[in-house]
């Protein structure tokens, strides 16, 4: 692992793949750590991409500021990392909290990006998300990292993924528990205390943008991704079938395939966002299906979209 320096803090990162190739930068969610991108990294480097993974300030191998971690500092850490990649085309992808940081980077430094992939993320705190966030923070305070993981696992992953692991959940949780400190996670959560919605700034994002949202994402539902689709001009929304909030863990190969196809389309100038809505295939390499015309993609039942 290599380290960047931001002020008095170190940010741990890794670069894989050929030096001059188009690069993907992958940004962790709140309780994640960079090793969770291993499948994506291997798939993308196998397709000729360079891949940068790192831990945000407060996570894993990066320093954990004791009292305050601002989202501006995270964006600056990302700027430093992208600066390490030279002049190659850069695709930025982040999930959940990492998706928010990626959005903020794209708003401030969009000219540096060839493409943007926000996943399971949001530009504003809906009442549900704010209350869930508060409850998760209280859970962390009262029950520690392990209890937060206990809440997030069933909320963010499917029965199909959880069932075979039910007898071994402690092992699933252990690495995340080992590398995450309560006060650092709490600082990351408390970076939302002065959060201002990004929605008014989204139209400034002109870079090609593929928004990924799990079909059954409970934590950040479709409506939050719709805000991104509506306000980012060159965007498409892609719904991942049968997936929940943490679909990058569950369908890593499919996610990596979608990332690669998006970047290849952008580089070949085939990409057209058109604010379209798509349904991703079930397996890597499958066909993308347009969301049925006339139906409302914000509903969970087949309801015709209203004329307005």
């Amino acid at each position: 692992m290599q380290f960047l320096t931001h002020g008095s803090h170190r940010i741990g990162y890794e670069l894989d793949g050929p030096n001059s190739a188009p690069a993907y930068v992958l940004v962790n969610g709140l309780t994640q750590y960079s090793e969770l991108w291993t499948v994506h990294r291997d798939a993308l480097t196998g397709k000729g991409f360079r891949v940068a993974t790192f831990d945000l300030l407060g996570q894993g191998a990066s320093d954990k500021p004791e009292l305050f971690i601002s989202q501006d500092d995270q964006v600056e850490a990302l700027r430093l990392l992208i600066g390490e990649l030279g002049d190659c085309p850069v695709f930025l992808c982040g999930i959940s909290f990492g998706g928010l940081i990626a959005l903020r980077y794209a708003i401030e430094h969009g000219e540096k990006l060839a493409g943007l992939v926000p996943m399971s993320t949001f530009a504003e705190l809906s009442p549900q998300l704010m209350l869930l966030g508060n409850a998760l923070r209280t859970g962390l305070i009262l029950g520690g990292t392990s209890y937060l993981q206990d809440l997030l696992l069933p909320m963010n992953l499917s029965d199909a993924w959880l069932k075979p692991l039910l007898g071994n959940l402690d092992a699933v949780k252990r690495q995340g528990w080992l590398v995450n400190d309560v006060y650092a996670l709490q600082n990351l959560m408390e970076s939302f205390l002065d959060f201002k919605p990004l929605t008014p700034q989204l139209p400034s994002i002109k870079t090609p943008t593929m928004i990924l949202n799990g079909e059954f994402d409970f934590l950040t539902p479709r409506s939050l991704h719709e805000t991104l689709r509506v306000h980012i001009s060159n965007s498409s929304l892609v719904i991942i079938p049968n997936a929940y909030h943490a679909f990058t863990l569950e369908t890593a190969a499919l996610t990596a395939d979608l990332l690669a196809r998006f970047a290849e389309d952008v580089l070949a100038q085939r990409w057209q966002g058109n604010k379209a809505v798509w349904i991703a295939p079930d397996e890597p390499g499958g066909e993308m299906i347009p969301f049925p015309d006339g139906y409302d993609h914000l509903r969970a039942i087949p309801v015709k979209r209203s004329a307005s």
Binding site: E66, L140, I141, G144
Partner: protein, 201 residues
């Protein structure tokens, strides 16, 4: 050098020499916090957050009492020297940039509490195959669990509106205490064959 305590004995227990050193360090640190809190506790509380001090004082003494009874102690002739160094490190260091001496002292106590509860994670030293019902193992897990709650009093105080004008010196004080506690803890662990950057399981 391992990332975890051990090798465990045939019953899955942490070796007594390691138990002795770890417990001695934790007793020293939490004992110092208990003493400092005892002095800091006002006879008559005039702010809501001070109720946390009372709870924390009793929790710190509970941790000391628990470790004294749950540890498989053995004689360790290096402990007196190490204890002296630890106790010297915990001595109050009023934050220089804060004019009000009482407040400067309180910030330092809170900074030390933040570091002891935040930088030390004794349960993270336990290997997966440790005997889960061993008293020492339960004690370490309990201390780490309690720490995530006890640190809240420090966080509330150190991030409070009262200290906003002093954010820089407060952050520096907490960072210094974390560095100090982290260094002593790492040195202690290195002395018993445990290294943070060593190979994982």
């Amino acid at each position: 050098m391992s990332q975890f305590l051990g090798p465990l004995d045939s019953a899955g227990r942490v070796p007594p020499p390691q138990q002795t050193r770890v417990a001695a360090f934790l007793i020293s640190a939490h004992g110092a916090l208990a003493r400092q809190l005892a002095f800091a506790l006002p006879g008559q509380m005039n702010a809501g957050w001070q109720t946390e001090l009372n709870a924390q004082f009793h929790r710190e003494t509970e941790i000391v009492s628990l470790l004294m009874r749950a540890t498989a102690w053995i004689p360790d002739f290096t402990l007196p020297y190490m204890m002296l160094a630890w106790e010297a490190a915990w001595l109050p260091k009023p934050v220089a940039a804060v004019a009000d001496q009482k407040q400067a002292m309180t910030i330092d106590i809170a900074a030390l509490g933040h570091a002891v509860h935040g930088a030390i994670r004794p349960a993270a030293l336990l290997p997966v195959d440790v005997q889960a019902k061993d008293p020492f193992v339960i004690a370490l897990r309990r201390i780490e669990f309690e720490s995530s709650r006890l640190i809240q009093a420090q966080i509330l105080f150190l991030k409070s509106d009262d200290l906003k004008p002093m954010r820089e010196p407060v952050s520096a004080a907490v960072e210094n205490r974390h560095r100090q506690v982290g260094k002593l803890w790492a040195e202690l662990l290195e002395g018993i064959g445990v290294g943070r950057d060593a190979e994982t399981e």
